[in-house]
């Protein structure tokens, strides 16, 4: 624990931007705006992905109710996915693979991969949801590039 400090970031892209502006590029898990933005984006992509399965032509109150219920179902979907991811990671670790990969980092990779797959499906459709999905994919790509630049400049392993 320490005294309050200037803003620091978790993701590679804002860390790289901070680095270019003379700030710190050290990873920190303290920026709530960053956490909210990432989690809302993941939630929105998942919501839009599953919203495609709400049948057309239902009454406004019925689709409204389904839209609210879908938000809770998306939450439950991610709780289940986190559990399944933990089993996948346990299996991989049990097989002697990726043992140096911390569980939370492994979960992060699986979460981003799942969301990216949903975003790719949304992009195929075009429409407003496709635009949001394209933004998400662009953000992931930029973050990967930033992680590469940071790793190259610091000589450390790249981290998303």
């Amino acid at each position: 624990m320490n005294q309050p400090e200037s803003p620091r970031f978790y993701f590679a892209l804002p860390r790289l931007l901070a680095h270019w502006r003379g700030g710190s590029s050290i990873r920190a898990e303290k920026n709530s705006a960053e956490a909210w933005a990432a989690h809302l984006a993941i939630f929105a992509i998942t919501y839009l992905y599953f919203a495609r399965f709400i049948p057309d032509g239902t009454s406004w109150w019925s689709s409204g109710l389904m839209s609210v219920a879908l938000a809770f179902l998306v939450w439950l979907f991610w709780l289940l996915m986190l559990y399944l991811n933990s089993l996948i990671l346990k299996l991989l670790h049990g097989m002697g693979l990726l043992r140096s990969l911390p569980v939370r980092r492994g979960q992060g990779i699986l979460i981003v991969a799942t969301t990216a797959a949903m975003a790719l499906a949304l992009v195929q459709n075009g429409s407003f949801a496709g635009e949001i999905a394209a933004l998400w994919l662009t953000a992931i790509a930029m973050n990967l590039i930033a992680a590469g630049i940071l790793a190259f400049s610091n000589g450390k392993a790249a981290r998303l």
Binding site: M1, N2, F11, E29, S32, E34, A35, H39, F72, L82
Partner: protein, 297 residues
């Protein structure tokens, strides 16, 4: 207890889930989850919700009941963040920052002999105790109410025992007079004892205090101990100020001198404490996690 008992609001399932989540969730996967868990518990933890609404009606006189339900949601939301961050600190030792308000009193507490830290169900008192032990390299004894569910109690004990490695020792206020003697001895040996003084739990001795113009029952143990051991009582609160950021608020110590009437001395201590408690709760009502009705009807 039935297997389903573990899924009760205070059941062990949720505590185990939190411990699992802390190890498994990436940093950015908390906000929406905490929001939905708050929605879930807002509906299923009805007694806690009603208690917060009832307490807020006294803390914020003239407030609308409907608004107090929204404020109760905000309180539960803050509680969810607080227990999640306490678990993060306990399980994976991530970085936290803090700001001290009343640093001179905290330095005095850290450097002095035996003292009582009187706190409230506010912010993260577990985290605060660990922080104190780490900063001053001193052991702190925390007095807690026991958990209602046996499995939860076992789980909390194990978790806190782990925290104990960092200088926090936990006592439960179930042992009656024996605990009082233990605490008195600890104070006389120069230890620091932390007690929550804003609500009555487990049939402990109580005293009436005036809080927000109403009568509230608070434990009289801290004042009896302070008087008998002649130990200063430091009001101390830990409030969450942002993501993994906390404020440690320390106020001037309450020093009880024996005047000949024990009741008068204890009542004076309780009055001083309730005045500090009122001031802090008024400014941070959204972090007052007193999930039982505090005020007499």
């Amino acid at each position: 207890m039935s297997r389903l008992g573990g899924f009760a609001v205070k059941g062990v399932f949720w505590r185990r889930y939190l411990d699992w989540a802390v190890v498994n969730l990436p940093f950015y996967f908390y906000p929406v989850n905490i929001f939905f868990f708050t929605v879930f518990f807002f509906f299923f933890a009805a007694p806690a919700r009603r208690a917060v609404v009832a307490n807020l009606a006294v803390v914020l006189p003239g407030s609308w009941r409907a608004m107090n339900y929204l404020r109760a949601f905000r309180t539960l939301y803050n509680f969810a963040w607080t227990i999640a961050e306490a678990a993060i600190y306990r399980r994976i030792h991530e970085e936290f920052s803090y700001e001290i308000i009343g640093a001179e009193w905290l330095e005095e507490l850290g450097a002095g002999p035996g003292a009582i830290v009187l706190t409230a169900h506010m912010g993260s008192y577990d985290l605060g105790a660990a922080l104190f032990a780490e900063k001053f390299h001193r052991e702190i004894r925390m007095v807690r109410a026991p958990e209602p569910h046996p499995e939860s109690a076992e789980h909390v004990s194990a978790s806190l025992q782990k925290a104990g490695e960092r200088g926090v020792k936990v006592d439960y206020n179930t042992a009656g007079a024996l605990l009082s003697f233990d605490l008195l001895k600890a104070l006389r040996d120069g230890e620091i004892v932390s007690i929550q003084g804003d609500r009555i739990e487990g049939g402990v001795a109580e005293i009436d205090a005036r809080l927000f113009g109403a009568t509230a029952k608070i434990p009289n143990g801290p004042f009896v101990l302070g008087l008998v051991a002649q130990a200063p009582i430091y009001p101390l609160f830990i409030a969450r100020s942002g993501c993994r950021s906390y404020q440690v608020i320390v106020r001037e110590p309450i020093r009880l001198q024996a005047s000949g009437s024990r009741e008068t001395d204890i009542a004076r201590g309780a009055a001083e404490w309730s005045s500090v408690l009122e001031e802090v709760v008024a400014s941070r009502w959204e972090q007052w996690f007193a999930f039982t009705p505090i005020f007499a009807r």
